[in-house]
Amino acid sequence: MSLIHKTAAELGALIASGQASAAEVAEAHLDRIEQVEPKVRAFLHVDREVTLEQARAVDERIRQGEKLGPLAGVPIAHKDIFATRDMPTTAASKILEGWRPPYDATVTARLRKAGLVILGKTNLDEFAMGSSTENSAYHATHNPWDLTRVPGGSSGGSSAAVAAYQAPLSTGTDTGGSIRQPAAVTGIVGMKPTYGGSSRYGLIAFASSLDTPGPFARNVMDAALLHAAFSGHDPMDSTSIDAAVPDVVEAASNADIAGMRIGVVKEFGGEGYQQGVLNRFHDAVELLESLGAKVVELSCPSFTTALPAYYLIAPSECSSNLARFDAMRYGLRVGDDGTRSAEEVMALTRAAGFGPEVKRRIMLGTYALSSGYYDAYYGQAQKVRTLISRDFEAAFHQVDVLISPTTPTTAFPIGERADDPMAMYLADLCTIPSNLSGNAAMSVPIGLADEDNLPVGLQIMAPVLGDDRCYRVGAAVEKALESRWGGPLLKEAPAL
């Protein structure tokens, strides 16, 4: 079997045992990128030489006998929202076109330390604002299952790259579902760790209290290995949790869920949900029961108010976070002809540099934080946030994990929702509550929808620092389905 068909764990083992070199493995993936990238368009930046240089350096470290982790030499596609010293970092915005950070994000640094080889920077919705990757200022990305459809978003470049076998692993960030939703619609595994479980340092901020870096992979174990490689306390991020990372790798290898209590969130299902999605979800519930889990339905009433609360909190924070893009110190500068004031240059630059969705959210957030409106909007949304956390707490007294469909529908056609922000926002209906409360949540593939043969994801939600439970349930589902299907959902690289 060709190198691109190996799992990340297999590649790591081959490289560690000297049966393959990191450079060889990187080259195989770079070739695949070259071959299918014109159709998928998952990347904003690929630099073959920089990547091969990294790979050769890892080979050298291995030759020197350096003790590296299980993913040493394994290539990875990196979301273009993490600062990288050796590659441009743009957040898919014109305002940062060509910007090269003088520093590495903590996640980037930890990838390098673990010996992962960065293949390139993946596309996203500008500043991670969107659910389809169509809001990228550069180009849209195509779903490898059906090139006319979106790969989800905002981490759509990362999901597409893994689903297209351009990379075995990728990074994403999840603010309202930006890892789980793209994973679901591209048929791969995506994990949003507990907020504070992975460092935000060097991650270009969208909404600080929600942004969470996490892994993508084609199987649960690979996701766990990547999760373990870059997570854990970071003194550079004050909101990072100073506690041991749950043993996700052990959980991923322990697929036993007999006796586990699993809650189905009553509020997620029914009207507005695609029938094929609901069918696969019901199959998954039966599967979990057949594996010995005790499945109960329970209600989390505040979850229905999560979406509006999110669309006040996230824009409010982004209106402040994006204020730094002012043409003064880095990035785009427009209108600086010696006659205009600093204020005019700032305004012209921001008008030219931000896309429509980013502007919409900045304006929304600026309004929500305004004096006289704060209590009614931002203040009220924070109260809803507290209610959502309480619903989770109450639920986790009764069950070990909660489940729901990851998204109400399968991948929608490119362009379908581009002019309808409300329809776009609904893609994150089921994923947003976990961002507001900060708990761990994963999406694993559970088959194809009957009507369109496109992937459906199961969302597994666990308490704060209960990330390992997601992996345990995810691994159990994956194992059972693989034996039923005779292999993974994505058996081989799509022809494209």
Binding site: A83, W99, P101, P102, Y103, R200, A207, S320, M328, L369
Partner: protein, 497 residues
């Protein structure tokens, strides 16, 4: 601009004061990153991703700055918050890298305190509303244009070395009832606050370098009224003297407007050292909306009460207490103590006494001769090129009879001129009281040359001896011990007092 005479203004109106003081903390590193806070480095050399607000960077709070702020709060008799947060204050300005300042809003670290100040023998209690922690901005320099302000400048340059230096803001409650002493009270408060910061060792509080800056709020209400008037805020007043002058001039300006039936505009104003007047800055009537919200990049601060109690018990002796103690030790009057305080001489006098000088002598030299020199050269006492130990040595030389007052002044001259230590100056300038033999010879000469005076003294006009002593001093070029010369003259003339 018309102004009203101060006395008349006070007859008709009663001032209400308020002060907001920013103090840059003397921590080694900045508030939210590890960059150095040293003043005077080449522009934009003490910067990093965080204080330049590069995309993706995050703040981490400086624990030492939080500790210093709590100590300031405790010294100002404040309550310390059990739980509080940082907040973002959003506004665009090129010298503010993030275009928001991390500050505190409705949850300050310290609140509800007071500071007592002495003015004109009276104790005035200044109530403190809050003490909170925030970060400084970068520093803009506007090049070209007449005013040095951004309006009209050809271009501006920004130095981000200052961006992110921890800044403590101390806000008073409105201060009514100071009456005609308002300017002095404002100055006394700023002085006391500065000393407090120094005694706590939390800041170098150099107003001229901007490490302490006062915003002075003034409003007037007509006598007999109980409703406060509209206030103005004079920003960034940067010397104690200017604090006092700006209050005085603002009272006079507002009084003139009110007397003509005008209306005070709520605005920020700037104080000009040269004219002693304030001019209009930015109008606050269209109040800027800072869209404060809790800083999501930082976790709340919840100071451990045990830690706070420990900080409280470890506070140093505070300046007012210390002054009372020193006054008793030195045996000086209230008036002398206050004038030493106002001249910022207490520390230096104390050091001189510690170096061996008697209290009265230390005070006499610093508040007399040296204060005069400082005044002439426009320097602070502490900035004169002479140390307390050197002054103590001069007083010792006088006490031992090596120098008299006149020679001592010459010795100080020499030290101030950089000629070395007092002993070196005495040696190099040949400053030495004449010895007994020398003195006797000079007395003989003077008596021989002043027959008239000699006759007067002999006939009982003892007062005439002064002229003879003067003659001796002149002939010795000041090196004689005047008292001993007088004794010798009387002895030679056989006259006793």
């Amino acid at each position: 601009m018309s102004v009203m005479a101060y006395d008349e203004a006070l007859e008709r109106y009663e001032p209400v004061l308020g002060l907001e003081t920013h103090v840059e903390l003397g921590t080694h590193s900045k508030m939210f990153c590890g960059c150095s806070t040293t003043f005077g480095a080449p522009p934009n050399t003490h910067v990093c991703p965080t204080c330049l607000a590069l995309p993706g960077s995050l703040p981490v709070a400086n624990e030492m700055a939080i500790e210093s702020t709590i100590r300031i709060g405790l010294a100002l008799n404040c309550s310390i918050a059990e739980w509080c947060r940082f907040a973002r204050k959003n506004y665009f300005y090129p010298d503010m890298p993030k275009n928001y300042q991390i500050s505190q809003y409705d949850e300050p670290l310290c609140f509800d305190g007071y500071l007592d100040v002495e003015v004109d023998g009276r104790t005035v209690r200044i109530e403190i509303e809050r003490v909170h922690l925030e970060e400084d901005t970068g520093k803009s320099t506007h090049v070209g244009g007449a005013t040095g302000r951004i309006q009209g400048a050809d271009y501006s340059i920004v130095d981000y070395n200052r961006a992110g230096i921890p800044l403590v803001e101390i806000v008073t409650k409105p201060i009514p009832g100071t009456d005609r002493l308002a300017p002095e009270v404002a100055r006394a408060y700023a002085t006391e606050l500065r000393e407090l910061m120094r005694s706590l060792g939390v800041s170098d509080v150099r107003m001229e370098e901007g490490s302490m800056r006062c915003d002075v709020n003034v409003s007037l209400m007509p006598r007999g009224s109980s409703e406060w008037g509209t206030r103005t805020e004079t920003k960034n007043v940067n010397s104690l003297r200017s604090v006092e002058r700006s209050v005085r001039s603002e009272i006079q300006r507002q009084a003139a407007i009110l007397a003509e039936g005008g209306r005070i505009i709520q605005e920020t104003r700037h104080f000009h050292e040269d004219t002693g007047m304030t001019t209009s800055g930015r109008s606050k009537e269209e109040a800027q909306d800072y869209r404060y919200f809790p800083e999501p990049d930082l976790v709340p601060i919840a100071p451990d009460p045990v830690w706070v109690a420990r900080l409280k018990s470890a506070l140093p002796e505070l300046p007012a207490v210390r002054r009372k103690r020193l006054q008793a030790e030195w045996g000086v009057s209230d008036h002398d103590m206050e004038s030493m305080h106002n001249a910022d001489a207490i520390e230096i006098v104390e050091a001189t006494i510690a170096a061996g000088a008697p209290a009265a002598d230390a005070r006499k030299w610093w508040m007399g001769e040296l204060a005069r020199r400082a005044n002439e050269s426009g320097k602070a006492l502490a900035d004169l090129p002479i140390t307390p130990a050197q002054v103590a040595r001069v007083t010792e030389l006088v006490a031992s009879g090596t120098l008299n007052d006149k020679l001592a002044r010459e010795a100080l001259d020499g030290v101030l001129a950089g000629e070395g230590s007092p002993d070196e100056v005495v040696a190099s300038r040949g400053l030495q009281i004449a010895d007994e033999g020398e003195l006797a010879t000079i007395v003989e000469q003077v008596l021989a040359g002043n027959a008239d005076a000699v006759e007067k003294v002999r006939s009982g006009k003892i007062a005439a001896v002064g002229a003879l002593v003067g003659g001796v001093m002149k002939a010795s070029r000041g090196k004689a011990d005047a008292a001993r010369a007088r004794e010798l003259i009387l002895e030679k003339l056989g006259v006793s007092e």
